[in-house]
């Protein structure tokens, strides 16, 4: 079956612009995570969605970052007024339930802010 997909695969933008990153989780997976991976760094947790519950936004680095998950499926991560330090790979992962440790990752979106 299809895995987690993310689009675009690469995004180059100018400082100050807004960007939207999209994640399509595996069909039927109820939990969805966003992570950020900077060069040579581990994965930094950003936000978590589980079903219809309120998302856990505790990892978002600033109020310029926001995310939505519509209909319990597709998620969009929005970064407003991008800064150069936002340059990173943004990874999305989904799991069948909130109790699963096996996170299925998408290929990521490589964001470059000039």
């Amino acid at each position: 079956g299809a895995g987690v997909s993310q689009s675009p695969s690469n995004k180059v933008t100018e400082k100050g612009k807004d960007v939207e990153l999209r994640c399509d989780p595996i069909s039927g997976h109820t939990a969805l995570y966003w992570y950020r991976q900077s060069l040579g760094q581990g994965l930094e947790f950003l936000i978590y969605f589980q079903g219809n519950s309120a998302p856990d936004k505790s990892g978002l680095p600033s109020d310029r970052f926001s995310a939505e998950r519509t209909g319990g499926s597709v998620s969009t991560l929005t970064i407003q007024r991008t800064q150069q330090e936002d340059s990173a790979v943004y990874l999305c992962a989904s799991t069948p339930t909130s109790g699963s440790d096996t996170q299925y990752f998408g290929p990521g979106t490589r964001l470059t802010v000039l």
Binding site: V4, A31, Y33, G40, Q41, G42, L43, F45, Y48, Q50, D56, S58, G59, L91, A93, T95, S98, G99, S100, D101, T102, Q103, F105, G106, P107, G108
Partner: protein
């Protein structure tokens, strides 16, 4: 200080060598341990999962956990060029419900296996 420390490498070995990858952690509350493999330009994929001290073997891979020393290892026997990737350790605390099963990742070790 980071909760999970991992040598970034790169670690370069000849084909057939035994590879040892390690992580140390500071929080004794971590009880579940994972190793993810990440090929270039791809997302991480789960390789090994363990929740107890000791060894767990799966083919050429062995995961080892020493909770008393807060130290985990991944051993790869008979390494192959196809094993060249970044290996990330990950761990979590039990009953962590405020963010599902939020994992804390190490920074990853880049491994290169040369033919």
């Amino acid at each position: 200080q980071k909760e999970v420390e991992q040598d970034p490498g790169p670690l370069s070995v000849p084909e057939g060598a035994i590879v040892s990858l390690n992580c140390t952690y500071s929080n004794s509350a971590f009880q579940y341990f994972m190793w993810y493999r990440q090929y270039s330009r791809k997302g991480p994929e789960l390789l090994m999962y363990t929740y107890s001290s000791g060894n767990k073997e799966d083919g050429r891979f062995t995961a080892q956990v020493d909770k008393s020393s807060k130290y985990i290892s991944l051993f790869i026997r008979d390494s192959q060029p196809s094993d060249s990737a970044t290996y990330l350790c990950a761990m979590r605390r039990p009953g962590q419900n405020n963010a599902g099963n939020m994992l804390t990742f190490g920074g990853g070790t880049r491994l290169m296996v040369k033919p």
